[in-house]
Symmetry: C2
Subunit: 434 residues, 2 copies
């Protein structure tokens, strides 16, 4: 098997057994990237010398270390997340050449473990809806999704085994669905946003891309870590990998939810057949009536946050912003505090009702997107299947289990109770092995 | 000593030793109330038959019970907190005769322990700033403070040993200061607001009045109890009384803070002399610069919440609302989501900075009000010394330690770290015994 097709955990075995060096591995990745990047456009910054130097240094470090470690494993970082040695341009003309002086907290954690910060992946403008240059590696006429467009496309095209994205609506899970990979957004407040450009503090979640659950767990165990500077973090949260013995011990709820009516007709058929055919204990259930306000509440909270986070740029550099970004900021400007507070209260009601659902079911299954990737590079698709779960802060993952009408991937979204990230990943691993 | 002057814990001893009955005790209280209530106006609802019947029933129950219990101990409840057997009128013409079908969660807890829900105490209109009928028992020309006017005045005048109030700005601590009693607002999210008329969900705290710390602890140990229906509650919080051995083991920070400039000149002098004379390890410190926004952030968060909670009444019954209430709702109406979110973010920054202060000091001491009770019944005074601590959700207490220029009481506000209610009360007990 070619090196570029391996999972990170498989590469690590080779590294730890001294069968390959990190330099060998990144050289193979770079060869593939040089061939594919002109077509895909996944990277906003990629410096071969920097990568090779890092790989060599970490190979040296590995030589003088004992035991297993992660030295020399590469990861891509969404370009709204600061890196001290690479520009971070937030997908915006306003930030061209912007060089942070410090790493974001999560980048610091990854470097500390010896990962190579491989490059910066393309994001939509300020992680909103104005697309970057990235195309979908499964079909170059299709959007890769957004806002974590490059992070998902790079992993989907085997340019890299691992990357970091972020989600305020559906910016981790939707691109995962469109690119046929795994995208994981853990419980709100488990990964620090210090050093990440904010969209809406109440909703912003960093997330992880990989092509297998083992790799997701590997990165989760590093970056799900408390940071006092991020005011919204959960204290005393400990992430641990674990495994389940029998998937039949778990009960699943198939939820169509308020997003269902926005789904493509072919996706709906395909998804209902998938639910019938999958070998799980699964009931179809209705969400409580308070969820009727779920889509609107999420949009309200998001728009309020966007206005608060991005107004400075609008005020100083409106002409450099994409019309989509301007529209989102202006929608936020016309929003009243009272409507925002009502949306927050609705979200709290939904969280409470969701607890009742999870008292009967271990996890929820619902589509990860409205359908396969739209054949349209001027959009990044619709996040409606993800937004309200993001708002509720529960852990969610997109698993590449379905194919759409053009044989393009569609993800199944699995959602677990708040703080049960371990369970979500172990269940997901078992589902992937079905 | 007369029964009415006793603390609740002292009355309990007499009850548990069968030296008096609850009927004896409430009869004495009612005699005193009948004399004083025409002057003070602390009660919005008081039904002698209901009280005497409850007392007799609980005396019977005590006869057939073993061990110590709280049967027959009376408590007053602020009239924004629902009671199934008494009207709850929220201090508003709109709610005259409003009879809830259920007890508020905290009332349920008190009844379960055998306390007598004695009556409903006067609140300002919807717990905002439009005064009720209550006068200050220490000087009938002075305001008792608000919004928990009747709760504080009733305890201050020995009509009752215990009562429940609530605080969104300074509505527990300021009336405590003005009435020369103890007012305690625990950590945000430790007492349920289910069945309490909301002012601003992000800020609303129920609180406890008594004339000694032992009595505060008695009620705290009952009502600091998790309720799933209140979305903002802290799970797995356990309140326990404890004692400290030596007050000299604790370090205090004297904070003037951004409220100081609003303080009366005589209060400032009196308070600074108090700090010099009190036998504590105490340093004067400056709050971090982010606290410059503390007063405004609190007002913004409060006004947003008021608009969200009370707009329905404004929309349907504006003519029945006091101009003060109308003004608050209208201030909230003109507030943008973005300004509200910025205030929330500022509050989070302050919480973080406050942790650093509390890494060096066990508690903060600052005035509980701008001065003694204003000689003006058209106002309830200024909450500026309380609002930002309320916003930060930290436990705070007003201790009746000072006297103003007219020999009227002024409280010292003591503030402890988030969730350290136990510590705050044990320190306060030691200070009261100095």
């Amino acid at each position: 098997m070619e090196l570029i097709n391996l999972h990170a955990f498989q590469v690590l075995k080779l590294l730890n057994n001294n069968e390959i060096t990190s330099e060998d591995y990144v050289t193979e990745l770079l060869k593939h990237i040089n061939k594919r990047e002109p077509l895909i456009g996944a990277w906003n910054y990629l410096n071969e010398d920097l990568i090779l130097n890092s790989a060599k240094k970490l190979d040296e470090k590995r030589k003088i270390s004992t035991g297993e470690n992660l030295f020399g494993l590469p990861i891509g970082i969404k370009d709204i997340i600061d890196t001290y040695d690479m520009p971070t341009e937030n997908g915006s003309k306003i930030c061209i050449g912007r060089q942070p002086s410090k790493d974001a907290h999560l980048v610091k954690l990854l470097r500390k473990e010896g990962l190579i910060i491989f490059g910066k992946t393309v994001t939509t403008e300020f992680a909103l809806s104005a697309p970057g240059k990235t195309k979908n590696p499964k079909d170059l006429e299709c959007t890769p999704g957004g806002s974590s467009s490059g992070s998902a496309a790079a992993v989907g095209d085997n340019m890299i085994p691992l990357s970091i994205g972020s989600q305020t609506g559906g910016s981790v899970l939707r691109p995962a669905s469109f690119n046929g990979i795994i995208g994981f957004k853990p419980t709100f407040g488990t990964i620090s946003r210090t050093g990440m450009s904010p969209v809406s503090f109440r909703l912003d979640h960093p997330g992880i891309y990989a092509r297998c659950i083992e790799d997701i767990e590997l990165i989760a165990s590093i970056i799900l870590s408390y940071d006092e500077s991020d005011y919204d973090m959960i204290k005393n949260y400990h992430f641990q990998n674990h495994s389940i013995s029998n998937l039949k011990d778990f009960k699943f709820a198939f939820v169509k939810g308020p997003a269902w009516k926005y789904g493509d007709e072919d996706m709906k058929k395909i998804f209902e057949n998938f639910i019938k055919s999958i070998d799980l204990r699964i009931d179809q259930i209705q969400l409580p009536s308070v969820f009727e306000k779920a889509v609107d509440s999420h949009i309200t909270i998001m728009n309020g946050g966007i206005r608060s986070s991005l107004y400075k740029h609008y005020n100083e550099n409106k002409s450099k912003l994409h019309p989509y970004t301007i529209e989102r900021i202006e929608n936020g400007s016309s929003l009243s505090a009272s409507d925002y507070i009502d949306a927050i209260q609705n979200a709290k009601k939904m969280s409470l009702e969701l607890k009742n659902v999870f008292s009967k079911y271990d996890a929820i299954i619902t589509p990860a997107a409205t359908g396969q990737a739209p054949r349209d590079l001027s959009t990044t698709g619709n996040a409606v299947f993800n937004g309200y779960w993001t708002m509720l802060g529960v852990p969610a993952i997109s698993l590449p289990l379905l194919k759409g009408k053009d044989d393009l991937p569609i993800g199944a979204q699995v959602i677990a109770p708040w703080k049960e990230d371990n369970k979500l990943l172990s269940i997901s691993k078992a589902i992937m092995n079905l």
